[in-house]
């Protein structure tokens, strides 16, 4: 068990290092940050001085090494665009993204499982068929289009909800929250639907097919033969067994929600880390891009690690097999 975890952690660290190397190799192709940082009146001397000051005259491997050296000490450098430490900006932006991702994730899981179970049980019903057809939209329409459609419907035409921003936020010291004000909650509705729709339909379709699979199993038939009520069969026996693959997918999708937030945040001008990243790309803000990419890869690698370890606990067969094998 311990050996397994250690091996997985070592693998994760290697993945992180490679992601960073590839990222730094790519930054040169995004463009030259110097051009954005100095006005059109700048002189060749200014360019030279700044390039040297930022270490951009060094090969990318050296730049990467310096980044790692500082990152290990918790220093992610200074944003070229905002002229402030990257870590401060990330900390300031993280609450917006995490709150949005949390609400989207909860919506996706709750509605995804409920609708999945419903469409599996009432497989032939009209309502279930309508839900299944509509869910195709969630899977196939791109996020930005859904966001724009929602804005036009609910902000421009109906005027019910705000089209951009986070509304009024309450500052709790290290964290700003939109949960405590009416305008903050209203501002959350459209972006969280936009961000969570894909995951919701994904979970719903997965739950449905898993559920249909499970309902065909012998033990369900035996359960019914025992005279158990439908509710007990569906929720106590069938749903529980459906959840193993669903949890895996949910785990991986948590990362995807935070990563996909880039598009939703751009559409809704949501002041989170995704919007920060888009700004950074346009400006060739290398320190912000590097920190964001590392953060996201740490998150993905971490989630994968946790899911792997969770498997160990949720699925007894894994444990039995391993113990039996050695």
């Amino acid at each position: 068990m311990l050996a397994y975890i250690i091996r997985r952690v070592a693998q994760s660290a290697l993945v992180l290092l490679i992601v960073g190397l590839v990222a730094f190799a790519m930054f040169r192709f995004v463009g030259d940050p110097i051009d954005n940082m100095l006005g059109q009146e700048r002189t060749a001397d200014d360019i030279e001085r700044l390039r040297e000051q930022l270490g951009l005259d060094q090969p990318f491997v050296v730049q990467y090494y310096r980044f790692l050296e500082n990152a290990v000490q918790g220093n992610f450098g200074v944003s070229y665009r905002q002229g402030r430490p990257v870590i401060d900006i990330l900390m300031e932006r993280a609450p917006a993204t995490l709150e949005l991702a949390a609400v989207s994730g909860i919506l996706a899981v709750l509605f995804g499982i409920a609708l999945g179970v419903f469409t599996a049980i009432r497989r032939k019903g009209i309502a279930a068929n309508i839900i299944m057809s509509v869910s195709l939209i969630g899977v196939s329409l791109p996020t930005f289009l859904i966001g724009i459609l929602l804005i036009y419907l609910f902000s421009v035409e109906l005027g019910w909800l705000p089209s951009f921003g986070r509304g009024e936020v309450v500052d709790l010291g290290a964290w700003t929250t939109g949960f405590l004000t009416a305008s903050g909650l209203k501002a959350l509705i459209l972006p969280s639907i936009t961000l969570g729709l894909y995951q919701m339909t994904l979970i719903m379709r997965l739950v449905r097919s898993e559920m249909l699979e499970v309902l065909r199993q012998d033990y369900i038939r035996f359960a019914r033969a025992r005279g158990l009520r439908n509710r007990a069969v569906h929720f106590r026996h069938a749903l529980k067994n459906t959840m193993v693959p669903v949890i895996t997918v949910i785990g991986l999708q948590v990362g995807a929600i935070i990563a996909f937030a880039i598009i939703t945040e751009t559409v809704f001008q949501w002041p989170g880390v995704g919007l920060l990243f888009i700004n950074a790309i346009q400006f060739v803000d290398i320190p912000v891009m590097a920190a964001y990419l590392m953060l996201i890869s740490v998150m993905f690698v971490g989630i994968n690690l946790i899911v792997d370890i969770l498997y160990f606990f949720i699925d007894p067969r894994l444990r039995v097999d391993r113990k039996g094998g050695h």
Binding site: D32, S155, V156, G165, R166, Q269
Partner: protein, 526 residues
């Protein structure tokens, strides 16, 4: 006697009437100010935000003309052409209550000349700034500088005492990531006071009740809420849904939608930016073409033919949806040196262009790469696409390479492109600025944006002499002569002047400023 009292009373009432009715201006555009430090960044949106809180000695009004701000009068010193004398406004206070004096002006100019300042190039000719008395300042330049006032319209004045008390005497080291008190706080003499600011999210400013201009300017807005909205569709949606009263960076394709919406309108004016193509004529052979050992662009007939192949009216109508003015020279219309005749010199004549190509020995044409940005100017890439088709008509096969601006502009400054698109604005409103950057040969700090390889020593000497020529008539004649050479040599292929569009709800009334720098003190609210 009585009437005067009544008049005084009325004017006092009028003066105080504006702040009584609370009017909030909700203002959005695509980007935010990078910092509040008045001298740390020389960038449009950053200056725009500063202009609400800080003031320079002189500003430009909505027509681009000079208007006294912190200085009331200015003139070259009699008997010494190297010195400008500025008379300062009396009775002005900073937001924190401190008096504005000549000492603050001297301090601010010296601060703007520091190593970390981004404004230092604009005032590079200034060698000394001295206070003669509390309300008179003399600015000494390294030679006669007739257009010095043009370089001062974004040079903001800070309070010396405030910077000392808050440890921000030095300009923020922007690249080094320094945060000083002045990057997040503001204490100017301007019409609005900073209330709160979250970078990239929201900036709130309220009316300065002690502003010296109360009664002189409308000042009908009592609170400004500024929010950057990056996505163009969201920006327009926010305007349509009534969440924003005033919008800059309006997408061209949504102009009709906004102007047709109830309660909204779009105002437009020519912008201080001209779009053109540059051609590398100086090299013996160029990389981007398929002709070996020769540079077709070195032949003025080819350059003329290329210009004649471009149908500017079609670009205006189809690509720009009417949102441009075809150009014949590479200076915006309000710049000193611009003439209507020269701006009309671009003609479209495919047959004539073909004849010129044949005369130059390129009857079969050639192929060349065109470098174009895709995120800098209004419809930049579509303009280049249109040019590809138009040049194809005279046998020139153009391979378009469109890239983000961060990759495009280094090609020009590093001399790695032979045919490129560039746009140019003239902050000084004088042709000298255009010549210095785009016509003068590349030598150190001068000619930095001239990617044409053109280097004419005689012309360069003439350009250099403009800086110190105090005889304005002779200077204007020189400017006209230099433009004649630029036009005849077809140094650049002008395309059009960009048009600026501001969206506003009907309760807002403001004329479009060619600098794209709205100053809220001029806003009227219905």
């Amino acid at each position: 006697m009585k009437t005067t009292t009544v008049l005084t009373l009325t004017s006092l009432l009028l003066a105080t009437a504006a702040p009584l009715s609370a009017e909030t201006l909700r203002w959005a555009r695509s980007g935010d100010a990078l910092t509040l430090d008045p001298h740390a960044q020389n960038e449009g949106p950053t200056h725009t935000i500063r202009h609400q809180m800080y003031e320079p000695l002189i500003i430009r009004d909505v027509t681009g003309a000079f208007e006294p701000a912190l200085a009331t009068e200015w003139a070259p010193k009699e008997g010494d052409p190297n010195v400008w004398v500025f008379k300062l406004r009396e009775g002005v206070t900073f937001h924190d209550g401190a008096d504005f004096t000549a000492e603050d002006v001297v301090f601010s100019f010296n601060r703007a000349k520091q190593e970390n300042s981004d404004m230092k190039e604009l005032i590079g000719s200034i060698t000394e700034v001295r206070a003669v008395d509390d309300l008179t300042v003399e600015i000494v330049t390294d030679g006669p500088n007739p257009i010095l006032p043009s370089n001062l319209t974004n040079l903001f004045i800070m309070d010396k005492g405030w910077t000392e008390a808050n440890n921000t005497v030095n300009v923020q080291d922007f690249e080094g990531g320094e945060i000083t008190y002045a990057t997040t706080n503001a204490n100017g003499t301007g019409p609005y006071v900073l209330e709160s600011r979250e970078p990239d999210v929201k900036t709130v400013m309220t009316l300065n009740e002690d502003y010296w201009g109360i009664g002189q300017f409308p000042l009908e807005v009592t609170e400004i809420v500024y929010t950057p909205i990056q996505n163009a569709a969201t920006r327009v949606a926010a305007m349509l849904s009534g969440e924003v009263d005033f919008l800059q960076d309006m997408p061209v394709q949504d102009l009709d939608r906004v102007s047709n919406a109830d309660g909204l309108m779009v105002r437009q004016a020519p912008q201080n930016r001209v779009i053109f193509f540059g051609l590398n004529m100086g090299a013996d052979d160029i990389e981007a073409d398929n002709i070996d050992g020769k540079n077709p662009l070195a032949d003025v007939r080819v350059r003329k033919a290329m210009s004649m192949a471009i149908n500017r009216d079609a670009i205006q109508k189809v690509v720009m949806r009417g949102q441009s003015q075809p150009a014949g020279m590479i200076a915006p219309p309000f710049v000193n040196g611009w003439t209507e005749e020269m701006d009309a010199e671009s003609t479209t004549d495919i047959e004539g262009a073909k004849a010129l190509m044949e005369e130059a020995g390129y009857a079969d044409g050639f192929s060349i790469r065109l470098d174009c940005p895709n995120d800098r100017y209004v419809n930049d890439e579509p303009i280049c696409q249109a040019a590809v088709g138009m040049l194809g008509q005279i046998g020139i096969t153009v391979n378009l390479d469109a890239k983000p601006k961060a990759q495009h502009f280094p090609l020009i400054t590093d001399g790695k492109t032979d045919f490129y698109m560039l746009g140019w604005g003239v902050p000084t409103y004088d042709s000298e600025y255009v010549f210095n950057f785009l016509v003068h040969g590349r030598e150190g700090d001068i000619g930095t944006w001239n990617g044409t390889g053109y280097d004419n020593d005689e012309l360069d000497a003439k350009i250099k002499s403009l800086a110190s020529n105090t005889d304005l008539d002779a200077r204007n004649q020189d400017i006209a002569d230099i433009w004649r050479v630029v036009q005849d040599e077809q140094l650049y292929i002008p395309i059009h002047h960009q048009v600026l569009n501001w969206g506003m709800s009907e309760k807002v009334d403001i004329a479009v400023d060619p600098e794209d720098q709205p100053k809220v003190k001029y806003f009227k609210m219905n």
